[in-house]
């Protein structure tokens, strides 16, 4: 009997270890899968052009800022970075400006056309940016909107707006109607109720939407390809794409530095508001 229990004890320990390994190994793999490409890029960005080949280790033996200097000094990069910031903030602002009243209407009113909301949820699925690239290019040519920052802002806003309205309707519906009714008795008008009651309660949703809109504008490539033709009007992804298309000797540390510089600002924003964004991504995906 005694040997039996000790055997099961050994078995239990073995099992516990097996379970730890079964969870630990995939998690380690996941970490490597996610972090390794980013770390390698970071490492290359601190090497010299020649050092990339001669010094293949993860930690550069002679770290240098040459890659960053060459990229930051480039007019193309400076202009694209500036454009990306403007287009990103503009898209976030315009999206919120249009989505808040629309979502309020869908959440609080019963009106003919309310069923358009369902269509709203499906449109971005039906029409990917890739499908818009060529037709919007023709449309922009026709109205003289090529190479304009405002065109990019408008186009990106249109692609995130459906999701933004959808997310906000859900949030607005959770704001108890009684709160608004009470304020109504006190004689506030609709604008004041939205401003002082509904919006403060929906701040997490507003942040999520702002970040998703900014991300869309910051990362979108297809529409920039279709809607811009001159160097001064491009955003970061297009500028980086052109860098990879140069024939001849590639500036690898420069490209790595470019990649790092276009990811880093975003990661800082993301770290501060992670929980909102994670919720927003999944609901955006499911809905």
């Amino acid at each position: 009997m005694a040997t039996y229990t000790s055997q099961t004890g050994v078995l239990a320990i073995a099992r516990r270890w097996l379970r730890r390994v079964a969870i630990g190994v995939p998690l380690l793999a996941l970490t490597i899968w996610t972090v390794f490409p980013l770390l390698m890029t970071l490492s290359i960005s601190f090497k010299s052009k020649a050092g990339v080949s001669t010094d293949p280790g993860l930690i550069p033996s002679n770290p240098t800022l040459d890659g960053y200097r060459s990229i930051i000094g480039q007019q193309g990069f400076q202009g694209a970075f500036f454009n990306s910031v403007v287009v990103g903030l503009g898209t976030a602002a315009l999206t919120l400006l249009l989505a808040v009243p629309a979502a309020y209407a869908f959440a609080r009113f019963r009106f003919r056309g309310r069923h358009l909301l369902l269509l709203f949820t499906l449109l971005p699925r039906l029409i990917p940016g890739l499908g818009l690239m060529v037709p919007l290019y023709r449309l922009a040519v026709a109205v003289g909107g090529i190479d304009k920052i405002s065109t990019l802002i408008l186009a990106f806003t249109a692609t995130v707006l459906p999701l933004a309205v959808w997310l906000l309707v859900g949030f607005f519906q959770q704001v108890p109607r009684e709160l608004e009714e009470a304020a109504n008795v006190d004689g506030t008008n609709m604008f004041q109720r939205v401003r002082y009651i509904v919006l403060p309660l929906a701040v997490p949703a507003l942040i999520t939407i702002g970040v998703l809109a900014f991300r869309e504008a910051w990362n979108e490539f297809n529409l920039v390809l279709g809607l811009t033709s001159t160097p001064g009007s491009r955003t970061l992804p297009y500028e980086l794409f052109l860098m990879t298309q140069t024939t001849g000797f590639q500036d690898n540390p420069g490209q790595a530095a470019f990649a790092v510089l276009s990811i880093i600002p975003f990661i800082f924003v993301y770290l501060r508001i992670e929980k909102y964004v994670v919720g927003g991504i999944t609901s955006g995906a499911v809905k």
Partner: protein
């Protein structure tokens, strides 16, 4: 909704406060919040509806219309050719090859993406305590643009200095020239695509796993099930809705992925990775054959609409719209 049914429905639809408060007559409910006329909702929703219809819906109609025309020279007069563009496309070996490449690329992305998604999400769901930070880390690739992802993969897969080849060397495997071998180039593209979309898959599966009733897995433990059996026989079947949605979303992403491939392989070598988006890019912006490009747009939109039907079907079946 008929007013007479308002009371009967109000119990069931309590999750939707504004609608469920149909007490006496649903129609009068809105007048409780005074300070606006009947036009108010239209005025509020109009700007969004206009922007979305002009910039999303109109281009689709334009593509359909424009694909029925052709020109003899770039910018020349348009003449109506009916469905000629389509018949030409579907007899063009280059275009059919693109469809072939798209099928391979989407299938590959699905196989690799779902396998990794399951392999990573299940242990992630059981990771407790300090390891929870891994969930936040998982999202990072989602913040990286397709072009940047491609640049990162170009660097790590580089034949001369890429670390992936160093790792292969360490395990005694031969160096791979990822971008000159057609099959390897396809594999590299699939890898980059999965890298940037895996966060979505993992988050979806995690979301499903978190709704799995712990009493089910506890009951299995009591009955002596191994962890392996518990995962395959209980948890996995319960997240099938999420897996189905992840399948559709991954297909969407792969079908419409231009940035990742165009910057990673440019469609090469020898057109090995020339998927439909690359064909569209070349036709529209390199060869400047706009009408033909619009026909390709319509083909892509049609495939996408097919996926959307599947998506709506799944959402209905698993009751996930509104969830």
């Amino acid at each position: 909704m008929p007013a007479a049914e308002g009371d009967a429905l109000s119990v069931r639809s309590t999750e939707r406060p504004p609608r469920s408060r149909a007490k006496a007559s649903a129609g009068e409910d809105r007048t409780k919040l005074v300070g606006h006329s009947r036009l108010t909702p239209y005025v509020l929703a109009a700007p969004s509806i206009v922007v979305v219809s002009v910039l999303l819906a109109f281009p689709v109609l334009y593509a359909l219309w424009g694909s029925l025309f052709d020109t003899d020279s770039i910018g020349g007069p348009q003449r109506f050719v009916g469905i000629d563009q389509y018949t030409r496309l579907f007899t063009d070996p280059d275009f059919l090859w693109s469809i072939n490449r798209t099928v391979v690329f989407v299938t590959g992305t699905l196989i690799v993406g779902l396998t990794l998604g399951i392999a990573f999400a299940f242990p992630l769901n059981r990771a407790a305590g300090k390891l929870r930070f891994l969930r936040g880390l998982t999202i990072v690739p989602y913040l990286v643009s397709g072009i940047t992802t491609a640049v990162i993969f170009r660097l790590i897969l580089n034949r001369d200095f890429g670390q992936v080849n160093r790792v292969l060397e360490f395990f005694g495997l031969p160096e791979m020239s990822w971008f000159s071998n057609p099959n390897l180039a396809m594999l590299a593209s699939i890898g980059a695509q999965v890298w940037s979309d895996l966060p979505l898959v993992i988050l979806l599966i995690l979301g499903g796993l978190q709704t799995v009733d712990p009493s089910l897995t506890d009951a299995a433990d009591v009955d002596g099930a191994t962890a392996w059996q518990r995962t395959w026989k209980i948890s996995l079947p319960l997240v099938i809705p999420q897996l189905a949605l992840a399948t559709v979303l991954l297909s969407y992403q792969a079908l419409t992925s231009l940035g990742v491939i165009v910057a990673l392989t440019g469609g090469g070598p020898v057109n090995a990775t020339r998927t439909l988006p690359i064909a569209l890019y070349e036709t529209a912006f390199l060869h400047l054959r706009t009408n033909e490009a619009l026909a390709i747009v319509v083909v892509i939109l049609a495939l996408n609409a097919g996926l959307t039907l599947v998506y709506v079907g799944l959402s209905r079946r698993y009751d996930m719209v509104g969830n």
